[in-house]
Structure formats: structure tokens, C-alpha cells
């Protein structure tokens, strides 16, 4: 698991889904059951931007990049250990 994956997993578990009894891992589909709503997507994007030091353009917020924590890390984690 990459550093970004691990930090994303911790962020989603502790900050976005709290309090929650939903068990998630890096391959859980984040949007299928309404886990992430319109406010949480902004927090998630902000977290990735802070972690990577890069802005994410709106056009890159598509399902193929954001389906799971693993796909987010793969798309936006270039250069991070």
C-alpha cells in the first residue's frame, strides 16, 4: 500500500465516515452506496490536493479516477512514495 493510499484510507475512515459502522478498504467503491456525498467529495478532493501539493481540475473528477481509494492514489499519487 502506498503512502497516499494509507493516508487516504485513514482520512476516509476517521474523518469522512465518522461515526460509521461501514468497513472500508482501499478497494471499496466509495460512491455506490452514497458513502460520499456532495460535501464529502469536496473534503476528499481538498485532502488529496494538500497531500499531493497539486490542484485537481474539475474535469479530472470522474469515476474512473475516484471509484476507490486505490484508483485515487494511482491517478493522483505520482511521485509520492
Amino acid at each position: 500500500m502506498s503512502t497516499l493510499e494509507a493516508r487516504l484510507l485513514q482520512f476516509v475512515r476517521s474523518d469522512l465516515l465518522r461515526p460509521s459502522d461501514v468497513t472500508i478498504d482501499e478497494d471499496t467503491y466509495l460512491f455506490d452506496d452514497g458513502l460520499i456525498d456532495s460535501l464529502k467529495i469536496l473534503l476528499l478532493i481538498a485532502f488529496v490536493e494538500v497531500e499531493t501539493g497539486r490542484m485537481i481540475p474539475d474535469r479530472d473528477v470522474v469515476m474512473s479516477h475516484f471509484r476507490t481509494i486505490r484508483t485515487i492514489a494511482r491517478r493522483f499519487g505520482d511521485g509520492l512514495a
Binding site: F31, G34, K40, I41, D58, V61, M63, F66
Partner: protein, 260 residues
């Protein structure tokens, strides 16, 4: 600004348009086609009131998504609006019911978008006519229904020789939080639009929408299992279909199409 011949698509400069002759018949021809498609699917044809209760729009979250989107009837009245879309009536009609089977409905209505008033082009009017096919049921079924409508309308446009393309749309149709709402909609592919070429621009003639369980929850429409129904709709801007056809093929082709 006019389109077609004999000045028969006349924009009045205040977001309204006057259509006559073969252009008026062309709009009716398109509506007949969409109605026929909906009927073939077994849709229940409905005729909704010309106005909509503010209570219905509030329950649908309309004012959260579009704070100044609807045209109110009379200052202080607060209770009735000109309808910004057709399908809100359908959810109000089914409010509090449990569906034994998926429901299909269709209706046509003059709709109004306050944000487009006064609009100065034929492509973006304050007052326009919308035919909707509305489907309410389980989520998987709704997604299939939306896909089938989109493919059917793609083929319909292609058969008419109309050039354009279908793509995800960015404008939101229900409540949330500003940019977040827009991004969630984009992420989930909840809205697609068919845009046809019209002169130097393109015009959105149809949209294919998924609402997930948003309206089912708001209006307490449930499935047999007791869970909130999902909904979706296909919406057609009838004047825009006529406009795109006239821009691409001209009035002679329109007259041939409608059998003048």
C-alpha cells in the same frame, strides 16, 4: 430573430417565442413522436396542472438547487409557481405511495426558467415546451431505462440526419452544495445531454437523467420492499428540436417531414 422561412419562428425578445405554420406543426410532430415512443413503453399519459405548488418544489429541493430558478405567481402569494420542469408533478402525484411495479409516465407542459428571462435567442427561452418520460422503480431498472431512452433518441436523431452528440452534462438538477453538487453529478454520470448542431452553435435538445433515490426519499415513494424508489427521466425541449431541424435541413425538409 427568426428561423425558417416566412418568419414562422419568432422570438419576442423577452424569452418567449411565437411559432406558426409549418414550424408550429414541426414542434407538434416531434412531440407526437416522443409521445408515441413513451406509449409503446406503456407509459401512463398524464396532464398536469399549468402551475405547481411551492410546497411541491420545496419538497423536491428545487429552491436549494436553484434559489431563483422558478417564476413565482404574484408577489407574496408564495404558494404557486410556473413549472420549471414536468416531472415534479409526477413525484407529487405518487407521494406517499408504495409501488407494486415500476411506473412509467409521460406528460408535456409549458415550462419556465426564470434564470433565462429575458433570453434573447431561440435556443434559450424563458418559456418553452417540454415533453418528459418519467420512470420510477428499482435503481438497476432506472439505469437500464435511461440507457434505452438515450440510445433510442440517438437513433431517432440519426435517422433524421441530424448531427450532434450525447455527452455528460454539468448543470445540476437537484440539491447539494455548490461545486460539490456539480462534481458528484459529473462523477456519477447522472445527467447526459444530446446536443444538436444549430447554426454556429449547438443546442441541448434532450437530457437523460438519473435522480437515484433523491425524489423517492423526498416524496416517500417506496418499492414493494419498503425502500425508497429511484427515479429518472428523459426530457425533450420541443422548440429546440424544431430549431435544430430547421437550422440543419431548412423549411422545405421540415414541410416534407410533416407532410405539408
Amino acid at each position: 430573430m427568426t428561423h425558417g422561412t416566412a418568419a414562422d419562428f419568432v422570438t419576442l425578445g423577452d424569452g418567449r417565442a411565437l411559432l406558426r405554420g409549418s414550424t408550429a406543426r414541426l414542434v407538434r410532430w416531434f412531440d407526437d413522436r416522443f409521445l408515441q415512443m413513451a406509449r409503446q413503453e406503456g407509459a401512463l399519459e398524464c396532464r398536469f396542472p399549468a402551475t405547481i405548488a411551492g410546497e411541491t418544489l420545496a419538497r423536491a429541493g428545487y429552491f436549494e438547487a436553484f434559489p431563483h430558478g422558478a417564476t413565482a405567481l404574484g408577489a407574496g402569494a408564495g404558494s404557486y409557481y410556473l413549472p420549471p420542469a414536468v416531472c415534479y408533478h409526477a413525484y407529487a402525484m405518487l407521494a406517499g405511495t408504495r409501488l407494486d411495479a415500476p411506473a412509467r409516465l409521460t406528460a408535456v407542459q409549458t415550462c419556465f426558467r426564470e434564470v433565462d428571462r429575458p433570453a434573447l435567442t431561440a435556443a434559450r427561452l424563458w418559456e418553452f415546451t417540454m415533453r418528459e418520460a418519467i420512470f420510477i422503480g428499482p435503481g438497476d431498472w432506472i439505469r437500464e431505462e435511461r440507457a434505452r431512452w438515450a440510445e433510442r433518441i440517438d437513433a431517432f436523431a440519426r435517422d433524421l440526419g441530424l448531427s450532434g452528440s450525447r455527452a455528460p452534462a454539468a448543470d445540476p438538477f437537484f440539491g447539494g452544495v455548490g461545486r460539490g453538487r456539480h462534481l458528484i453529478q459529473q462523477l456519477k454520470g447522472l445527467k447526459e445531454e444530446l446536443r444538436l448542431d444549430a447554426g454556429s452553435d449547438t443546442v441541448a435538445v434532450a437530457s437523460f437523467n438519473l435522480h437515484e433515490g433523491f425524489f423517492g426519499t423526498r416524496f416517500e415513494i417506496t418499492l414493494a420492499e419498503g425502500i425508497a424508489a429511484h427515479s429518472g427521466c428523459a426530457a425533450f425541449g420541443l422548440e429546440r428540436w424544431a430549431l435544430a431541424f430547421l437550422e440543419q435541413h431548412g423549411s422545405k425538409a421540415a414541410e416534407a417531414l410533416i407532410g405539408v
